[in-house]
């Protein structure tokens, strides 16, 4: 079961990398993650959500 789960995670990671690569080249209207984040960061609520998410990620990975 672990192998299947890890394989699915790998497929999702590969999809993210492909999406990012296509987005950077603007293939068929796709956008990069940076462009997407910049778009949401224009709004105050978007900024708050991303910064809180960043804080939680650090706390979760390194402290707890």
């Amino acid at each position: 079961m672990r192998t299947v789960t890890v394989a699915i995670w790998a497929v999702l990671a590969a999809a993210a990398l492909l999406l990012e690569a296509f987005g950077r080249r603007r293939i068929t209207g796709l956008v990069s993650a940076e462009e997407l984040i910049r778009y949401f960061m224009k709004a105050r609520v978007g900024r708050v959500i991303f910064v809180l998410g960043w804080m939680w990620l650090g706390w979760h990975l390194f402290a707890r």
């Binding site: 079961m1 672990r2 789960t5 890890v6 699915i8 995670w9 999702l12 999809a15 993210a16 999406l19 987005g23 068929t28 209207g29 796709l30 956008v31 993650a33 462009e35 997407l36 984040i37 910049r38 778009y39 960061m41 224009k42 900024r47 991303f50 910064v51 960043w54 804080m55 990620l57 650090g58 706390w59 979760h60 990975l61 390194f62 402290a63 707890r64």
Partner: protein, 135 residues
């Protein structure tokens, strides 16, 4: 003539980030060292990022108005985020964790070693710095 490649505040920030990453490489989760290092790093990035951003805003023209995202791009990322969240939740509520690893349990492979832990911490700091300065 003196060549100035980087300003001293940038050097200071980079040095502080490197020092924090070095401390974090030796700290383990659920210890006060890890708690304090993470908390100080968050405070430092937020404070430093805000200071730098306000300084940059004084010299920079206002950001252009947001244009709508291309629909295929927005839909593709939305689908990926939904897939990642769904699979993460499915694994989170399954047991045992070894058979159903979540993203964080897979990342333990990296955060469990000193060097990769320091590199991941440095990457997290850079991401926070970028978010604070992102306009």
């Amino acid at each position: 003539m003196r060549l100035r490649l980087v300003s001293w505040p940038i050097l200071l920030v980079a040095g502080a980030g490197a020092a924090a990453s070095a401390v974090m490489s030796m700290a383990r989760p659920f210890t006060w060292t890890a708690d304090v290092t993470t908390a100080v790093a968050i405070a430092g990035v937020l404070l430093g990022g805000c200071l730098f951003a306000s300084r940059a805003n004084r010299t920079r023209h206002s950001a252009p108005l947001a244009h709508p995202l291309p629909r295929p791009g927005a839909v593709a990322w939305l689908l990926l985020v939904v897939a990642l969240t769904t699979f993460e939740l499915l694994n989170l509520f399954e047991a045992p964790r070894r058979q159903h690893p979540t993203i964080s349990s897979l990342l333990v492979l990296l955060t469990g070693h000193d060097v990769t832990r320091a590199l991941m911490f440095a990457a997290w700091l850079v991401a926070g710095w970028w978010l604070c300065r992102c306009r």
